[in-house]
């Protein structure tokens, strides 16, 4: 079984439940709650020994991009002065990000709007697509979130150096510090700067993975406890699903606002 490849406390706990649970449901309960995160090759592609297969993760990224594009173009095709429902949502999301940039970066940040808006929609749709049963959540893989965070990190650093040159390094030198403490504090500041891409990616990935694992584990409880006692975890799963949808929005928001804050550091040179 596929779940056996992943050794994990959660997996073992679920396997145990499956064993103690009803024998009739054995086939369904035998799945690991981590199976949902498995990458499957849909179209194997191998170029010069590098595996660049089209996977289910890539498929859902494509679906997300297509959905965002379709949604925004379709919603705005009327260009009504009094917007309808869809147009309202599209305008709301545009204004939400535009306001976020104006408040956190200032007018200088306006030229980075396309990137930040794309980032927000891509993460949001990835999180929301993951809420559909049997779909794949690409934001629950650290390599995906790390790639996004690395683009932000490298981009922000390059923007900082291009705009301020060597003065950008002032970001690492706190003001009003005695000379003998300065080397230590500069080291700490640099370390703190280097943690940004990691914490940015881990936050999104951990939230999505923990939430989805929890959903599956409690789903397993429902099956294992059967008709008599299964209602309690079922109610919990329903509540958890609502929470997860909230988290899908929240984490997309957090990722975007942190990008804005980092951009602000690079453009306006202060914490």
């Amino acid at each position: 079984m596929a779940g056996e490849t992943v050794e994990n406390d959660v997996g073992e706990a679920a396997a145990e439940i499956a064993q103690h649970g009803s024998e009739a449901e054995h086939g369904a309960a035998g799945h690991s709650p981590l199976e949902q995160f498995q990458i499957k090759r849909l179209i194997p592609i191998d170029i010069a020994g590098i595996d660049i297969s089209f996977t289910n993760s890539a498929l859902f990224m494509l679906i997300a991009v297509a959905l965002v594009t379709l949604f925004l173009t379709y919603a705005m095709h009327g260009r009504a002065i009094i917007p309808g429902r869809l147009q309202s949502i599209a305008e709301l999301s545009y204004e939400f990000i535009a306001n976020m940039i104006r408040e956190n970066v200032g007018s200088e940040g306006r030229r980075y709007f396309p990137f930040i808006f794309t980032l927000f929609m891509f993460i949001l749709f990835g999180n929301l697509l993951g809420m559909i049963p049997y779909s794949f959540t690409y934001t629950s893989h650290i390599i995906v979130t790390f790639a996004l965070a690395a683009v932000v990190f490298i981009g922000v650093t390059v923007i900082g150096f291009v705009r301020h040159g060597a003065k950008f390094l002032k970001l690492f030198v706190p003001s009003g510090v005695p000379m003998f403490l300065l080397p230590l504090l500069v080291m700490i500041e640099i370390l703190s700067y280097l943690t940004r891409p990691i914490s940015l990616s881990v936050r999104l990935f951990a939230n999505m993975m923990a939430g989805h694992t929890m959903l599956k584990v409690f789903g397993g409880f429902v099956v294992a406890l059967g008709v008599l006692a299964g209602w309690a975890p079922l109610a919990f799963v329903v509540a958890l699903t609502g929470l997860e949808i909230g988290i899908a929005f929240l984490q997309a928001y957090v990722f975007t606002i942190l990008t804005c804050i980092y951009l602000n550091d690079a453009i306006n040179l202060h914490h």
Partner: protein, 80 residues
């Protein structure tokens, strides 16, 4: 609900991991076995605390500028 606490926790843990990781790598690179790892462990801890303080300040600033008073709703999905 989990948003604020989770952010702070991750900030602290990740800084520790990055610090320790850098120390470990530099140790392997220069052959100065345990010393840089120990040094960077503590630097990472310091960076983590710095991050936590900054994150907390940011959150406070956001709460202060939020339209709803903090006593009524400290909800994180207030993102319109």
């Amino acid at each position: 609900m989990s948003g604020f606490a989770f952010r702070i926790g991750i900030e602290l843990v990740v800084a520790l991991m990055v610090g320790t990781g850098i120390g470990w790598l530099l140790d392997r690179w220069w052959g100065t076995e345990p010393f840089l790892l120990l040094l960077f462990f503590f630097l990472g801890a310091a960076a983590g605390l710095l991050n936590v303080v900054r994150t907390a300040r940011e959150m406070q600033k956001q709460l202060a500028s939020a339209p709803v008073p903090p006593s009524v709703a400290v909800d994180e999905d207030d993102e319109r």
